[in-house]
């Protein structure tokens, strides 16, 4: 009886010891593989953005076929969240606890990333290259050391428009249409900051409710302010409506349209009388822009898509979402190389916060992806671009979008 107990105790100790020994290895990393996780809308209203994850996935496959990263192949497991933060949380916990991924990469949407940030930081899991423009992901690293952003912030985008207006428009009178939530207000406050003392040149600003069905009335009110500059800080169908209303009202202001609403596919279907001459920012190569038709990076994107994608249409070959995903996947591979052979979670965050990447083929030429432990905004250079003849044409020098 006693001996039985002793045997049981020894067995239990061995089992406990074995279980206790396991966490020493880094989850999601083996001698020949790295597992990354992601959560993205593959269904529902925002499902077009799902191509960001597909683009990244295809790029990783391309890298794997060329030897992988220091002998390891990357597998990227991304799950559908239908743009619902609750599902993003469930996906993230599943990926971290059940699938034991190394880290989360390129999850899309401000709310979804806010929702998973606490869990990931509580569990020391890297939240890498967040696909959302809220400043908090790059700024609040003291509280959330495992999180790092990627794209330029909305606030900086607004500031850049403000600077450009002061430099290029004589006696500006500005009308602003903005979505009345954090996203639209970030752009607006950035614009005000960019205008500085000249913020009074904003003659009228109208916030529309993200739940409203139509913004044409708002545009009519803005036209009545006799403004010669019109800022479209809108989203999806609302920016479509804004362009339609401008054309119908026979208004001819200089239009600025924010990055998220400036997809070539969207700009091509609004009345061109209003769209022509519109200005936006750009940092990734737009495969629909004629300027890049023969560019190496865009060619690479198209060959990767043709090889690894399924059912690729000619529209896919001009879809900027894929390129955006490949751009951040390129940076991810870069960070993994930098983190070295002895890959750990702390190591990848250290690498991601010491980037100095000058050769990302999916971003505009001469953009440097640069980070430091206190500057966690990887892409902080943009150019302006003008819409003409159904295509975007970048102009001017690179502009800094580094939050101050």
């Amino acid at each position: 009886m006693r001996r039985g107990l002793v045997i049981c105790a020894v067995a239990a100790a061995v089992v406990a010891g074995a279980a206790g020994a396991r966490p020493l290895a880094t989850p999601g990393v083996s001698s020949n593989s790295i597992e990354l996780g992601g959560s993205i809308p593959l269904s529902g209203e925002a499902s077009a953005a799902g191509n960001v994850a597909r683009g990244a996935d295809y790029y990783f496959k391309y890298v794997n076929d060329h030897g992988g990263v220091l002998g390891r192949k990357i597998s990227y497991k991304y799950l559908d969240d239908a743009y619902d933060p609750a599902r993003a949380v469930q996906n993230t916990i599943r990926l971290v606890q059940q699938d034991q991924v190394f880290g989360m990469f390129n999850t899309l949407g401000t709310a979804n990333n806010l929702a998973i940030r606490n869990f990931l930081n509580d569990n020391d899991v890297p939240q890498l290259f967040v696909a959302a423009g809220a400043t908090t992901f790059g700024r609040d690293y003291k509280k959330y050391p495992w999180t790092i952003g990627y794209i330029p912030t909305y606030a900086e985008e607004g500031r850049i428009y403000g600077h450009y207006i002061l430099a290029s428009v004589k006696r500006p009178r500005i009308a602003v249409l903005y979505q009345n939530d954090e996203y639209g207000r970030d752009l607006l406050s950035g614009l005000q900051k960019g205008l500085g003392k000249k913020a009074s040149t904003i003659a009228a600003k109208v916030g529309y409710d993200p739940t409203s069905s139509d913004v044409q009335g708002e545009v009519a009110r803005l036209k009545a302010s006799k403004a010669n500059v019109f800022m479209v800080f809108a989203f999806g169908k609302f920016s479509l409506q804004a362009f339609n209303a401008v054309a119908r009202l026979n208004w001819h202001p200089q239009i600025f349209v924010n990055d998220v609403s400036s997809a070539s596919s969207l700009m091509a279907i609004v009345p061109q009388s209003a769209a022509n001459g519109s200005i936006s920012i750009v940092f990734g190569k737009d495969p629909a822009a004629p300027l890049w038709a023969k560019d190496k990076g865009v060619r690479l994107f198209q060959s990767i898509l043709k090889k690894y994608g399924s059912g690729v249409s000619s529209r896919d070959l001009k879809d900027g979402y894929y390129v955006a995903g490949m751009a951040s996947a390129f940076t991810m591979v870069d960070a993994l190389k930098k983190a070295g052979k002895n890959l750990t979670r702390a190591g990848i965050v250290r690498a991601a916060t010491h980037l100095n990447e000058k050769n990302n083929p999916f971003l505009l030429p001469s953009i440097v992806v640069k980070t430091s432990p206190t500057k966690r905004f990887p892409v902080t250079q943009v150019r302006l671009q003008r819409w003409k003849g159904k295509a975007w044409h970048p102009f001017g020098k690179l502009i800094s979008a580094q939050p101050g």
Binding site: L42, S43, G44, S47, G50, R54, D57, Y78, L79, D80, A82, Y83, D84, P85, A86, R87, V89, Q90, N91, I93, R94, Q97, Q98, T110, A111, L114, A115, N118, F119, N180, D181, E182, Y183, D209, P210, T211, S310, G311
Partner: protein
């Protein structure tokens, strides 16, 4: 003798269910306890919907909205007012229940498909209203924060998944017992009488306004509790958390579980969870079949699989899991009932 036997059987089944729930975390992985807990939240919402639709015959396509009200009540009370999230759960249920009364009043004049349309309107409008009153609800960004994370009390050393599981399982058992007590006693008989014929029920002295409003209130209470737990599970709510589809999923879960069966709803809840979070896994399995080409990463494939599985389930089980259960148990129960 027979009603007593039935009662004894039901109590034994309840005890067995409670026993299984209590040992389950020892048998499955930490993450799977979380999955069961989330399915348990759908089960709680389905219990409420079961009372409303299964027993009183009123169709609601808006129960996701009551979950939203419960979820937001918990989020606002704990994030903005510093309450412990666990203790906000009953309050969230009461607030949702009160809004259920408000919906129940117009429901008195509507029946069948018309009521379904009105409640569907609620499912559509509540997420929009949540975006509108930003100062109160946090707008499109929603409510989140350290305050919404529920931690085990008294320094208990359990994983957060296990804690979530035990809270949800405990509440499920209590609410199952309450639902069972309601449906097998006078209120349940009154509700069934209303379902079968309002005229006959009224002429037998059943107060239609009282019972119909009661059914709405109690089912909204259940949905509110489920929503509160859901908010705690994710430590986050925003309007997209309670999309219109959620209300539809709940009706699907009810149909799969079976109208008028509290036990069958377990299957309904499991299916609602599984098809929402594992439709891609199912698509992956089907993709392995040589005749099908279902790459789960392609747009729309998981949704198609969701629909197809649903059609197959309803073809095989037209009366839901509850109906199947009754059919399977019939030889046993008829023998027991007719012996004395």
């Amino acid at each position: 003798m027979t009603p007593r036997l039935k009662l004894a059987l039901e109590i034994a089944a309840f005890a067995a269910f409670a026993f299984v729930l209590s040992i389950l975390p020892r048998l499955i992985s930490d993450f799977h306890t979380r999955e069961v807990a989330i399915a348990g939240m759908y089960y709680i919402a389905l219990l409420g919907l079961g009372i409303l639709t299964g027993y009183s015959g009123q169709i609601s396509l808006g129960h996701g909205a009551f979950m939203a009200i419960g979820g937001y009540a918990t989020a606002i009370l704990s994030v903005d007012h510093g309450m412990s999230p666990t203790w906000t759960i009953p309050l969230a249920g009461l607030i949702a229940g009160a809004s259920g009364v408000l919906v129940g009043i117009p429901a008195l004049r509507l029946a069948g498909i018309y009521l379904a349309i009105v409640t569907f309107g609620i499912a559509i409008s509540v997420p929009q209203l949540l975006k509108k009153f930003e100062g109160f609800t946090g707008g499109t960004t929603g409510k989140y924060g350290e305050g919404l994370t529920s931690r085990p009390p008294f320094g208990l050393d359990t994983s957060s998944n296990h804690w979530l599981y035990y809270v949800t399982a405990g509440i499920s058992l209590v609410l199952l017992a309450v639902a069972w007590a309601i449906v097998r006693q006078k209120p349940g008989r009154a509700l069934q009488a209303i379902r079968d014929s309002e005229v006959a029920a009224a002429s037998s002295g059943v107060s239609l306004p009282l019972y119909k409003t009661f059914a709405f209130a109690i089912s909204a209470f259940y949905a509110g509790v489920a929503g509160a737990l859901y908010a705690i599970a994710n430590a986050y709510v925003n309007p997209d958390t309670f999309q219109v589809a959620l209300s539809v999923y709940l009706v699907v879960g009810l149909a799969v579980g079976g109208l008028g069966s509290l036990a069958g709803l377990v299957v309904g809840a499991g299916l609602v969870y599984f098809l929402q979070f594992h439709a891609d896994t199912v698509a992956g399995w089907l993709d392995k079949l040589p005749i099908l080409d279902l790459d789960p990463k392609q747009p729309g494939i998981p949704s198609v699989v969701f629909g197809a599985v649903l059609i197959v389930v309803m073809l095989l089980l037209p009366t839901g899991a509850g109906g199947l259960l009754r059919r399977l148990l019939r030889p046993l129960t008829t023998r027991l009932y007719t012996r004395s």
